[in-house]
């Protein structure tokens, strides 16, 4: 994959921005709208607890994790103690550890600095992750960083605007459409993960996640269930998927 032209260890400034623009364009041609719709509702939650619109939009730019933002504003609304909210968010955001670890080796090139990696890691959300894992491997390594930042910035900026609009339009969305907005996340994640599945381990992990969650919810409770599903489902998928590939080879 790394067939960058000889001598092109660095991209020209014009080429860098053109790749950044291509990433942004690709995001705005669909995936960015999915995550923006998903973060629309956070605006109304922030308004319910009396926080200003700027804080609602900043929560999308900084936290950049729908479930964490829902727990934060939902928890404040229900007067849950702050350390309890922080712990719940910490558990719900644990997914970013395996997601970011699996993603960075795809982005990293010989000249990528630690600062670039920390910045790139901030933009990881489920949408950005699934779409990047699908799109980046087919690109020359040197083009991945500008494309990724274009893609991710388009997602986060559109979503911050959507959170702001959601704040202003609170209560104006009819019930069935509001249900449709809440369903954007699960439906889009399912399709995006399906589109990105390449090897047997991916497919098995995908199926096991669905099957194990109802069991884990009962056995482990609503805090640790997803960690259990990830570790058990992912490990089984890795082992079985590896065995299938070895048999084929």
């Amino acid at each position: 994959m790394d067939e960058a032209a000889p001598g092109s260890a660095l991209l020209t400034r014009a080429r860098w921005w053109s790749l950044f623009g291509k990433g942004a364009f690709d995001a705005l041609s669909f995936p960015a709208w999915m995550i923006a719709l998903a973060l629309f509702g956070v605006g109304s939650l922030a308004r319910d607890v009396g926080h200003p619109i700027g804080a609602a939009m900043a929560s999308t730019l900084f936290v950049w994790a729908g479930p964490a933002q829902v727990i934060f504003y939902g928890g404040l609304a229900a007067n849950v103690p702050l350390p309890t909210i922080a712990l719940a968010i910490c558990l719900s955001s644990l997914r970013f550890l395996p997601m970011t670890m699996a993603f960075l080796p795809l982005l990293r090139g010989p000249t990528t600095t630690r600062f670039t990696e920390l910045l790139a890691a901030h933009y990881i959300s489920i949408t950005v992750w699934t779409e990047s894992l699908r799109r980046l491997p087919t690109m020359p390594r040197i083009e991945r960083v500008p494309y990724y930042f274009g893609f991710a910035n388009a997602c986060i900026i559109l979503s911050a605007l959507s959170t702001g609009i959601g704040y202003l339009l609170v209560g104006a969305v009819p019930g069935p459409l509001a249900a449709g907005l809440l369903a954007v996340t699960p439906i889009f994640f399912t399709i995006s993960l399906t589109a990105g599945a390449r090897i047997p381990a991916d497919w098995i992990a995908l199926g096991l996640g669905f099957l194990l969650e109802p069991i884990a919810l009962v056995l482990l409770g609503p805090g640790l269930d997803l960690m259990g599903v990830g570790l058990v489902g992912g490990t089984v998928a890795f082992l079985v998927g590896g065995a299938i590939e070895r048999r084929r080879a």
Binding site: M34, A46, G54, A55, S59, F62, V63, A65, P67, L76, A86, L87, I89, S93, F96, P98, T100, M101, A102, L104, P105, A121, H122, I124, I126, P137, P174, G175, P176, A178, A179, G180, L182, A183, V184, T185, P186, I187, F188, F189, T190, I191, L193, A195, A201, D202, I204, A205, L206, G209, L212, E213, P214, P222, L226, V229, G233, G234, T235, F238
Partner: protein, 116 residues
């Protein structure tokens, strides 16, 4: 602390930091990992299972207006979207719109008591 800054400080301390710590930790833990290594395949499988687990959780224990849609509508939307993805020759947009159409129709026709 001033009332103006409080919502921002709370957001940073209670929501941003507990989330960002995992992303930053991953930068250090993934330092020596290569794209094609087996450990990356395993970590990716863990993340994938965790994410479909989130989908199942969102649909099985839904919040807000989604909770008013019957289970068959929620599960049906995912199943139909998945099938539509392959029927429409791996069309992501078509699949998502089909799933949304099923869910919104289920919400509309199920007689759930929404507040209009």
């Amino acid at each position: 602390m001033s009332d103006f800054l409080l919502p921002y400080v709370l957001m940073i301390v209670v929501a941003f930091l507990p989330t960002e710590m995992w992303r930053s930790l991953a930068v250090y833990l993934s330092r020596d990992l290569n794209e094609g290594s087996q450990i990356i395949v395993w970590i990716r499988a863990v993340a994938t299972a965790l994410l479909t687990g989130i989908v199942a959780k969102l649909m099985l224990s839904p919040t807000g207006e989604l909770a008013l849609v019957p289970l068959w509508g929620r599960a049906g939307a995912i199943a139909v979207a998945f099938a539509a993805f392959f029927i429409l020759r791996r069309n992501v947009i078509g699949a998502v719109l089909t799933g949304e159409a099923v869910l919104i129709s289920a919400a509309y026709f199920s007689g759930a008591h929404f507040n209009f």
